[in-house]
């Protein structure tokens, strides 16, 4: 199928492939349909979002970024470095405290989302991916604790092995095997956490932030809101779609 001027072949905008749209076109159409740029990176938010509780999602996310950044520096220098240098100990401390901050902000975020019943309006998957992110973050932290190569790691691994062995998990996940635990901690589990968090954030952008409960059966704005706080000529193209 030849093209003119580098444009994909088409007639009146319709694809000319005999078999309809290609996989690539279909995937692209679905992705852009679900998340047009104005939804992915919106420049407006619903007016009901006027509470500090709403900042705890982004605080959790940025804590994860600091965890990964500090963890990357620790990984660059190898697992023994932080025991012998002040700068290494510094980055270990950043890593530990950003983990504490991550769980702190995540718990407040989940409390807020629970009391808002944020799964309403087709957002069940948003809740579920968030909950799975929490559940997967716990073993990710565990593999970190048993990779410390100090007394804490010795105690935690010799204790945790009993719970894991009892559940049969110990037969393929050996917390006293440093090499295995380090691999899980530096690569496999952070990959899992990041993948789940990306899915969570994209679902949030797709479905938008859950509107408030209605206080009465009389519907809250379902028709076009005449008293928008924006100037009439600057209504965002995609703002109302989120």
């Amino acid at each position: 199928m030849s093209s003119v001027n580098g444009e994909p072949p088409s007639v009146n905008g319709e694809p000319t492939s005999v078999n309809g749209k290609s996989w690539t076109e279909k995937a692209r159409d679905r992705a852009v349909g679900a998340l047009p740029p104005e939804k992915l990176l919106p420049d407006s938010q619903p007016s009901y979002m006027s509470s500090w509780i709403y900042v705890f999602g982004v605080l959790t996310l940025t804590s994860l970024i600091v965890i990964i950044a500090s963890g990357s520096i620790l990984a660059l220098k190898g697992p023994g470095w932080w025991h012998f240098t002040g700068i290494g100990h510094f980055f270990n401390s950043i890593h530990l405290w950003s983990v504490e901050l991550f769980f702190f902000f995540m718990v407040i975020h989940l409390w807020g989302k629970y009391w808002m019943a944020a799964w309403r309006g087709g957002r069940a998957r948003v809740w579920m991916t968030g909950a799975v992110a929490f559940v997967v973050a716990v073993p990710c932290a565990l593999t970190g604790y048993v990779s410390q190569q100090n007394f804490d790691a010795q105690w935690i691994s010799t204790q945790a092995k009993d719970g894991l062995n009892a559940a049969g998990v110990g037969s393929f996940f050996n917390v006293t095997n440093f090499g295995q635990m380090y691999s899980y901690h530096v690569y496999l589990l952070p990959l899992a956490v990041v993948a789940i968090v990306i899915a969570h954030v994209l679902l949030v952008r797709r479905h938008g932030i859950v509107p408030p409960f209605q206080l009465s059966d009389r519907a809250q704005p379902t028709a076009r809101e005449p008293e928008s706080v924006r100037e009439p000529d600057s209504v965002p193209a995609g703002g109302r779609a989120s």
Partner: protein
């Protein structure tokens, strides 16, 4: 809440068709990153992070020779924690179970450890140039099983009243222990010199990252538990949530460790699998809250949402949309 009213509420919540206001998502993320970074740096400068040096078989055997020798003797007769553990280390027991579900047994012995061979006999055999030790080993291995048991039981009983000599060796009352005092004396010297740490680690190959053997050996004795108690890390001290020193620990594990403190878990031989099962069910329930009647309705019944969205409701009220 009726199914119809739930469906209507869900439809209404699907898309917000009301007012929007300007919002800079990238600026918010950048500010959040700055805040978190600042907090992490401040906490680091204030508190740093804990780093207690690990115990070694050497430090254990030097610090508490009697406990070391006692543990080594229980490894020899298989009565130690590891020796009697069951899967995944050996077949000494069936492992924990819930009713007919024996997950540990079904998943099998994937990390075989023979406590007598791995912790005592093989390390002793690796020591060369000691004819007295060699003949003590031969005498032990040639003896019938019940004789070996007689020796180990008597020796373990005597070790309950043992003392430590100034040179770090162990002294017990005279008794019928066979070649055990000679074997254990050599093992103790080997451990105190640091050789046993290396021997336990590199028994299979030069490059090793699997510390299972030295860790299980130490865990069978008292060295780790003694330090753990000082640091409030024991299970009975809710240790799973704690960190060494006075640092905050893993507060998110509160519910996991909670079950171990109450019956029937606190007195059950199958506590671990029972707690894992309970937490597995609760974790699943946590993920599936949107579908669980009661749990999904509580936010409506306890109206914390009225505080969260009070600005919105006030605005709506002032526009006369509420009754």
């Amino acid at each position: 809440m009726s199914r119809e009213s739930r469906r209507r509420e869900d439809e209404a919540a699907r898309e917000w068709k009301g007012a929007y206001r300007p919002y800079d998502i990238l600026k918010e993320a950048s500010i959040a990153l700055g805040v978190v970074l600042a907090l992490a740096v401040v906490l680091t400068l204030l508190f740093s992070s804990p780093d207690l040096k690990p115990s070694t078989v050497q430090s254990w055997s030097r610090g508490d020779p009697v406990d070391f020798v006692t543990t080594a003797t229980t490894e020899l007769d298989g009565s130690s924690g590891t020796g009697s553990y069951g899967p995944p280390y050996n077949h000494a027991s069936d492992g924990q179970h819930i009713a007919f579900i024996y997950l540990a047994k079904w998943l099998g012995v994937s990390h075989p450890i023979n406590s007598a061979q791995d912790f005592v006999l093989a390390p002793l055999r690796s020591i060369s140039g000691q004819p007295a030790l060699a003949s003590a080993l031969s005498a032990y291995q040639a003896a019938p099983a019940n004789t070996q048991t007689t020796w180990t039981s008597a020796y373990e009983k005597a070790l309950g009243n043992a003392t430590t000599n100034p040179n770090g060796s162990v002294k017990v009352k005279p008794g019928n222990y066979g070649p055990l005092p000679a074997m254990m004396g050599s093992l103790l010297t080997f451990a105190q010199s640091g050789g046993l740490d290396g021997a336990l680690l590199t028994s299979k190959q030069f490059y090793q990252t699997d510390y299972t053997k030295p860790l299980l050996f130490m865990a069978d004795g008292g060295v780790l538990a003694t330090r753990a108690q000082q640091q409030h890390l024991l299970g009975t001290q809710w240790g799973m949530m704690n960190e060494t020193g006075s640092y905050p620990g893993q507060v998110w594990l509160w519910l996991y460790t909670f079950w171990y403190q109450i019956k029937p878990f606190s007195t059950s031989a199958n506590a671990d699998i029972l707690v894992m099962a309970v937490m597995g069910v609760l974790s699943l329930a946590f993920i599936l809250i949107p579908f669980i009647p009661g749990a999904r309705d509580l936010p409506r019944r306890i109206p914390i949402y009225k505080l969260i969205w009070r600005d919105h409701y006030r605005t709506q009220q002032s526009r006369g949309r509420l009754a």
